[in-house]
C-alpha cells in the first residue's frame, strides 16, 4: 500500500537524491520543509517545487551546527503544522587518494553523514515516538557494508548510519514509527560525477522513487535498486585476506 504524507521534512535537499525526494513528496501532496547548507541551490529546489504547484518551506542550515537543530526543528513543525515524514539525505564524499590521511576531510564526512543524521533523526524520533506515528527515512549507502580502501571514512560513516538507523528502528517500531534504511548503489548525482568504474547507474529521480516505495513497507532496510543486494551478498562474503589484496 502506498503511504502518503502530509508534512515532510528533507535534510540535504539541495541536490541529488534529497532534492528528488523533496520534489516527489511535494508532488504526492505533502507540504515539504527542505533543509540544506547551500542557500542558492536550496532556493532553486524550492522554486522547482513551487512551480510544480507544491508547498515548500526552505531553511538554509549546516547540519554541523548541531546546536540549532532543536529550535529549527520546532520551527519547521510549527510551520508545517505537524510532521509525519523526515528524511536524512545529507552526505558528502570528498575524494581520498592513495596515501592521503586527511583528518579534516574524514571529520567532515563523519560530522555530515553520521553525527548530523543522529542529531536530526533523534529529534524527529522524539517527535514521532510521542505522536505514535511517522516515517523516518535515512539515506545510507551500500558503502556501509564493508570498509573499503578507496573510501575509508565514507564507509565508516555509512556503516555507522546503517547501525544507528537499525537501532532507531528497534527502538521506535513498538511506538508505531516506521524507520527505513535506504542503501543506494551507484546513483547519477553530483557526488558520483567524474568517478570511474560505475555500473548499474540510475538517476536520482529513479532512486527517490524506489526509496519512497521501500518506505511503503514497515521498518524496511534495503538496497536501491534491489539488485545491489546481490552485490552486497557477495561483497560481505569475500574473506578479509582476499579483500585487502583487491582494488574494490
Amino acid at each position: 500500500m502506498k503511504r502518503t504524507y502530509k508534512h515532510a521534512l528533507v535534510i540535504g535537499a539541495s541536490s541529488g537524491i534529497g532534492e528528488e525526494l523533496a520534489v516527489q513528496l511535494a508532488r504526492d501532496g505533502a507540504h515539504v520543509a527542505i533543509v540544506a547548507r547551500r542557500a542558492e541551490e536550496l532556493e532553486r529546489v524550492a522554486r522547482r517545487i513551487r512551480e510544480a504547484g507544491g508547498t515548500v518551506f526552505a531553511h538554509a542550515h549546516d547540519v554541523r551546527s548541531y546546536e540549532s537543530v532543536d529550535p529549527l526543528f520546532d520551527r519547521i513543525v510549527d510551520e508545517l503544522g505537524g510532521l509525519d515524514c523526515a528524511v536524512y539525505a545529507a552526505g558528502v564524499m570528498p575524494r581520498v587518494v592513495e596515501g592521503e590521511y586527511d583528518f579534516a576531510k574524514d571529520r567532515a564526512m563523519l560530522e555530515v553523514n553520521l553525527v548530523g543524521c543522529v542529531a536530526w533523526m533523534n529529534r524527529a524520533a522524539l517527535h514521532c515516538e510521542a505522536q505514535r506515528a511517522g516515517t523516518l527515512i535515512g539515506v545510507s549507502s551500500i558503502a556501509g557494508e564493508r570498509g573499503r580502501r578507496g573510501a575509508p571514512v565514507y564507509c565508516t560513516s555509512k556503516a555507522g548510519m546503517t547501525a544507528y538507523l537499525e537501532a532507531l528502528r528497534n527502538r521506535c517500531s513498538r511506538y508505531g514509527v516506521n524507520v527505513v534504511t535506504a542503501k543506494p548503489g551507484f546513483i547519477d548525482t553530483p557526488m558520483t560525477q567524474g568517478m570511474s568504474g560505475l555500473f548499474w547507474l540510475i538517476s536520482a529521480a529513479e532512486a527517490a522513487r524506489r526509496i519512497l516505495k521501500l518506505a511503503n513497507g514497515r521498518g524496511r532496510s534495503g538496497f536501491v535498486p534491489w539488485r545491489w543486494s546481490l552485490v552486497a551478498f557477495v561483497l560481505k562474503r569475500i574473506p578479509s585476506f582476499l579483500f585487502r589484496r583487491s582494488n574494490i
Binding site: 546546536e67 532543536d70 520546532d74 522524539l126 517527535h127 515516538e129 510521542a130 505522536q131 505514535r132 506515528a133 511506538y175 508505531g176
Partner: protein, 478 residues
C-alpha cells in the same frame, strides 16, 4: 548562560495511560536549592514547568509539551520517623512503596493509599488522593500534618492547619500549580496485624451494588466495588464488592510479628505460572469489546465458586495495590493507550447518573473496560474532588480511530455529571474543558484558587498541559 534549561536533554514523557503524550526537556534535581534555581531560571528563559514524580497521573497532569518537566522523585529521603506516635517526616519524592516498607514492620500503614504503590507523596498530596476507605478516613490531605512548599516566586512557606492555612488547603488538591512540596509530615495509621479480613459480595446489577454500599458503609474499614461495564440489559452494573477490615492481633494466624514483615506482604511474582513482567502481553488480545466481555463474564462467574459473603485474610499490599499485580498492564491497551474518567456524584443522584454514563458509553460503542465504584465524604481542601456520594472510575480505551468520538463522549458525560452537581479528579482527567471546572467547583472556590496562583506563581511558571487546557484562557490568554 542565556538558555541553560532550553539546552537540557529532551525525552518523550507520557501520562500513565499513555494516551496523553509529549516531549520536553527533563531535569531531575536532587535538592531544594537546585529546584529553586530551576524555578528562577525557567522564569527568566520563559520556559514552563510541569512537576512530576513517578508519572502515575493518568492524563496530562504531569506533562508539558515542548516545555520542561522537573522530576522530583529523586528527592526521597526519610527525615525522621517517630515510632511511638506514628508520625513520619519525609522528602515528598518518597513513594507509597518506600513509605509502607519503612513503617509496616513497626505496626503502621499509610492511612490513605491509592490502587498502586508507585506514586510519590508529593503527587499523592498534590492530587489529594483517596483510597478505598475515603468514606471513613477522608483523603490523604486529612493525614498531612504540615509541609514546606517552594513556590515559583522563590519562597519556602511552612504550611499547616494553623500556619498559612489557606495555602495548606489549596496546595493539597492544587495539582502542582502553587509550588513544589519539599518536606512533608504525615500521621500514619496504627495496625495490629499485616492482614485484613476481606469479604466478597456478588451483586446482580447496579442497584444492588449501590444497595450494598448503603447498607454496609461506614462499618468496614475499606469497601470497593468492581463492576462490569460491558454487559448490558438487566445485568448492567453487576459486579463483585470487597469489604475489608483491619485484623486484631489476636486473630492473626501468622502472629503480628511475622505478618507485619515485608516478606509476608509481597505480591506474587508469577500468576498462573507466568512471570508477572510478561502478563500484559497475554492481556493484549482481550482488550477489545468482545474480549473484555468474555473476561468480565468469566471473572463474574468465577466469583460464584465461593458462596456470597465468602471471607478470607489478605495482606495489606495484596488488598490495596490491585493495579500492581500486572506490571505495565497499561501497555495491553495498545498504541493509543487509555484514559480514566472518574466522576464524583452526590449520593442521591449517583445511581441514576452512573447508570446513564455506563449506558451512554455502551451505546457509543466505547464501553469502559474497568469500572470501580467507591464511596466518598466531603473534605475541606479547596479543589477536592470528593463529595458526599460516590465515584465511578471508568477505564476507556483510546485508539487513533476513536479518539475524537471518545472526547465527545467525555464531554457529554461531563454534562450529565455537572447537571447532578458532580466533580472530577485531576489525577485522572484528560477530557475536561475550562467551563466544566468553574461549574464543578463554583466561582468562589475557583476564583480563590486563581488568586493564590497569581500570588505564588505570578509569572505562570508552573504550567502543565492540564493547566494550559483548564486555566490557559483565564490566566494566560491561551
Amino acid at each position: 548562560m542565556p538558555s541553560e534549561l532550553r539546552r537540557a536533554p529532551r525525552r518523550v514523557v507520557a501520562g500513565f495511560g499513555l494516551a496523553m503524550r509529549s516531549y520536553s526537556h527533563y531535569l531531575e534535581p536532587r535538592s531544594t536549592e537546585e529546584l529553586a534555581r530551576i524555578f528562577g531560571r525557567a522564569a527568566e528563559e520563559g520556559l514552563h514547568i510541569a512537576l512530576r514524580g513517578t508519572g502515575n497521573s493518568y492524563g496530562d497532569a504531569a506533562i508539558a509539551h515542548r516545555e520542561l518537566v522537573v522530576d522530583t522523585a529523586g528527592m526521597n529521603r526519610v527525615l525522621s520517623f517517630d515510632r511511638e506516635q506514628g508520625v513520619i517526616d519525609i522528602e515528598p519524592g518518597v513513594t507509597i512503596r518506600d513509605l509502607w516498607t519503612q513503617v509496616l514492620p513497626h505496626g503502621f500503614w499509610p492511612a490513605v493509599v491509592p490502587g498502586t504503590m508507585k506514586p510519590t507523596l508529593a503527587g499523592v498530596a498534590a492530587m489529594n488522593v483517596h483510597g478505598k476507605n475515603n468514606y471513613k478516613v477522608g483523603p490523604i490531605g486529612d493525614h498531612v500534618l504540615d509541609f514546606d512548599l517552594l513556590t515559583p516566586a522563590g519562597q519556602t512557606l511552612r504550611c499547616s492547619r494553623t500556619e498559612n492555612r489557606e495555602l495548606f488547603h489549596a496546595a493539597i488538591s492544587g495539582f502542582g500549580m502553587l509550588g513544589a512540596f519539599t518536606r512533608m509530615k504525615l500521621r500514619l495509621k496504627h495496625v495490629e496485624s499485616g492482614f485484613l479480613r476481606v469479604e466478597t459480595i456478588r451483586t446482580r446489577d447496579l442497584a444492588e451494588s449501590f444497595a450494598i454500599f448503603e447498607e454496609r458503609c461506614p462499618e468496614p474499614d475499606y469497601l470497593v466495588g468492581w463492576l462490569d461495564g460491558v454487559v448490558g440489559g438487566r445485568s448492567a452494573g453487576r459486579g463483585v464488592l470487597h469489604a475489608a477490615s483491619y485484623l486484631p492481633a489476636s486473630e492473626d494466624p501468622l502472629g503480628a510479628a511475622r505478618s507485619l514483615q515485608i516478606e509476608a506482604q509481597e505480591l506474587p511474582s508469577r500468576i498462573l505460572g507466568v512471570p508477572k513482567s510478561l502478563l500484559w502481553m497475554g492481556m493484549r488480545p482481550f482488550l477489545n469489546n468482545l474480549g473484555v466481555r468474555c473476561i468480565n463474564a468469566a471473572k463474574y462467574q468465577a466469583s460464584r465458586l465461593h458462596r456470597n459473603g465468602h471471607r478470607y485474610l489478605q495482606s495489606h499490599v495484596g488488598f490495596a495495590f490491585l493495579l500492581d499485580y500486572v506490571p505495565e498492564w497499561r501497555r495491553a491497551y495498545g498504541l493509543g493507550g487509555l484514559i480514566q474518567y472518574q466522576p464524583f456524584v452526590p449520593r442521591a443522584e449517583a445511581p441514576r447518573v452512573f447508570g446513564e454514563l455506563i449506558a451512554l458509553a455502551r451505546k457509543r460503542g466505547m464501553p469502559p473496560y474497568l469500572l470501580v465504584l467507591k464511596r466518598h465524604r466531603p473534605d475541606d481542601f479547596l479543589l477536592t474532588h470528593a463529595v458526599d456520594g460516590y465515584s465511578l472510575a471508568m477505564d476507556l480505551r483510546v485508539t487513533a480511530a476513536n479518539r475524537e468520538a471518545l472526547w465527545k463522549l467525555g464531554h457529554d458525560m461531563s454534562e450529565i455529571v455537572l447537571a447532578a452537581g458532580g466533580r472530577f479528579y485531576f489525577a485522572k482527567d484528560a477530557l475536561l474543558a475550562p467551563h466544566h471546572v468553574r461549574r464543578a467547583w463554583g466561582d468562589e472556590r475557583w476564583n480563590a484558587f486563581l488568586a493564590l496562583k497569581r500570588t505564588h506563581d505570578p509569572r505562570g511558571v508552573l504550567r502543565t498541559d492540564l493547566a494550559r487546557r483548564l486555566l490557559g484562557e483565564e490566566l494566560w490568554g491561551s
